[in-house]
Symmetry: C3
Subunit: 293 residues, 3 copies
Amino acid sequence: MTKQKILIQLDTDNRSSVFDSITAIDSGIDHLLCHHDVTPQNVTEIVHGAIFTRGPADLKSTAIFVGGSDVGFGEQVFERIKGSFFGPCRVSAMLDSNGSNTTAAAAVLSAAKHVNLAGIQATVLAGTGPVGARIAEILARSGASKVKITSRSAERAADTCQIIQQKTEINDVLVPTVLDNVESIADAVGESSIVFACGGAGITLWPKSHWPISQCRVAVDVNAVPPLGIESIGATDSATEIDGTICYGAIGVGGIKMKIHKLAIQKLFESNEQMLDIVEIYQLGQSLVEKNQ
Amino acid sequence: MTKQKILIQLDTDNRSSVFDSITAIDSGIDHLLCHHDVTPQNVTEIVHGAIFTRGPADLKSTAIFVGGSDVGFGEQVFERIKGSFFGPCRVSAMLDSNGSNTTAAAAVLSAAKHVNLAGIQATVLAGTGPVGARIAEILARSGASKVKITSRSAERAADTCQIIQQKTEINDVLVPTVLDNVESIADAVGESSIVFACGGAGITLWPKSHWPISQCRVAVDVNAVPPLGIESIGATDSATEIDGTICYGAIGVGGIKMKIHKLAIQKLFESNEQMLDIVEIYQLGQSLVEKNQ
Amino acid sequence: MTKQKILIQLDTDNRSSVFDSITAIDSGIDHLLCHHDVTPQNVTEIVHGAIFTRGPADLKSTAIFVGGSDVGFGEQVFERIKGSFFGPCRVSAMLDSNGSNTTAAAAVLSAAKHVNLAGIQATVLAGTGPVGARIAEILARSGASKVKITSRSAERAADTCQIIQQKTEINDVLVPTVLDNVESIADAVGESSIVFACGGAGITLWPKSHWPISQCRVAVDVNAVPPLGIESIGATDSATEIDGTICYGAIGVGGIKMKIHKLAIQKLFESNEQMLDIVEIYQLGQSLVEKNQ
């Protein structure tokens, strides 16, 4: 008899995300076990409960999802999960704290519908946060020739570039760029064909007064709370051409983000060895786009 | 494919009510997402998780239930839920903190099996609490000519009457009545054909020494913990004639209360626009009684 | 219509055991209601929610599981559950805090495959804890002629023997035995044909230097964390003959433990009157062994 599909939904916040719960159910799981206030310290016992209950052949029907608002803390929990397995006694797991992986994958895939990423130049505005860094990583791995990461702080921009370089072993592509004044937006965009805005809620990174910039063919804003990061883009814009630039707002990439999220949950149950972080989740998104073409 | 029916069970207490969970499951929902310690402050994020995960056509398969022991606090949460929707991005919701709405509806419907509410005179003993006020509101809306609300405090009785008048815009029906001495019960009942006892657990409002009162044809006691509010009635009495008065105890109205509760949960999933408070829940109860006739 | 099978999983710890949740789902339940931080004080309201929602004929489809790391506290919660029923308004319940009952049953059943318990002599090393005391109780009830319970403390050994004697009304079988030095292991084992090691994680009770002891035909170690309680036994040993002694490690008894656990959950839903503690769970284990012969 096939085992019921159990998703253990771990949240690093003090309440389990209803968004993540409903998306999990809509992905076809049978039972959801929600746990909040999960930390690197207490996650091991949860993992042991997951791996020591079912036989090896059935472990693919148990999986773990890590969510919560703090992406860095979610990454620590995800690492500890990997370290809690015993050989074949393991279950698949997915990291998507604050929707960071599915959002980053959806943002890049949206742009990639319109341009070839190989050899492209790109700018990730306010790219030192978890979504921005993931977008930059995917661009570098996809063969971009230059990826500028902007920040108000030269140090943070340099740190983020270095972390991605170490992780990807791709050198001479990531370029830390200081952007501490909206008037300098044209310099920050420079020769980039695609621009992603990843700033905090309500912070305008690219004002209307400097719109459009002719080199930029696709612009994606992942901030859904107005005022938006790119003032000319509306949150629901989806492949909308505005003054010659193809534009996506946060809700505009939401459709593909949800599809990637559900596909990733389903992928967890194909074997007990899936560890889905940004690279794997972006690949899933690519397979989705190819299938729909 | 039809979406799974998800009920988000919100509890304002620090533990989700097992009673509400089992009743929800018996109403036919597929998945229950339980959240406790819910407040007007933290409910908005939960609501957003509910309304931003499924497409408009599928939102009728997600619904919210508000329970918990504090009815006033539950009302605040319910109001905040209504205020967290964005146009068509909304889900159905039901308020039944402490079983107040289903109990009040069941109590009035039990009495209405034996008398015509239009033009009737009624007394709601200790009627300033959430169940009593809801019973009085339903009686006023059903065309009662006079509804006395008793309290030990003249001020609380007057306040409760005023709140119901403002809400219903029905004047000259609700009569605040002081009852601070069980010896005055005959005056409090007066010409009322139906009497509801809504006092706290273990407080006798109508002692045996003053039983029966000839004008009263139906008496309903919603307190299940002895000593009961109407001393002559047993908790399991259900349409039991005692000395010429038709009597209902708390457990005696429990059967119809459970049916109303389940019908209300099912109603939530008919569309994404149901907001079930006392008026809507009483109407559901009426449809149930009519169907069974 | 048959009601959905609801298991109310109560945990005395501050997080519901994922191990217990998955095992419950694999036992065939439909819905799991998890509650943590359960105490004798707050369990009554949970029980009332369980017994007052469904009609008498349907109460067999609701059941309660008590788990958590503190067996003594779990026993208090279990007692309070029994005291919260009202006549026929009751549901089945099972106690298995820290896996104590299923582990003890599995350990004794493993040994009983190789020897006849009637008239046997046995030693339970470090037998004053919850698993050890349960093993000793089952041995006494199964007709053992002598059951030594060892402890570093004469008082604790005597107390445990007295509690089991009072509970079983079996006298002259249980023998409190001081074992405060591993060099005395041969005396502690004495004429015993079966030996169980129930010490804490990482405490060696029977060193290799004193292995084997010729009288001992079967040795079972319930400690899974090395160094193990019986140094010669590996955690995965299962009916493994080592120097003439048949040996079981903690993981070696795990298979039958899981089967007993699942069978016990299923038993809960046969009627609403099952109260499964060590005696009933051992009997279930026996029926399982007989069926498989």
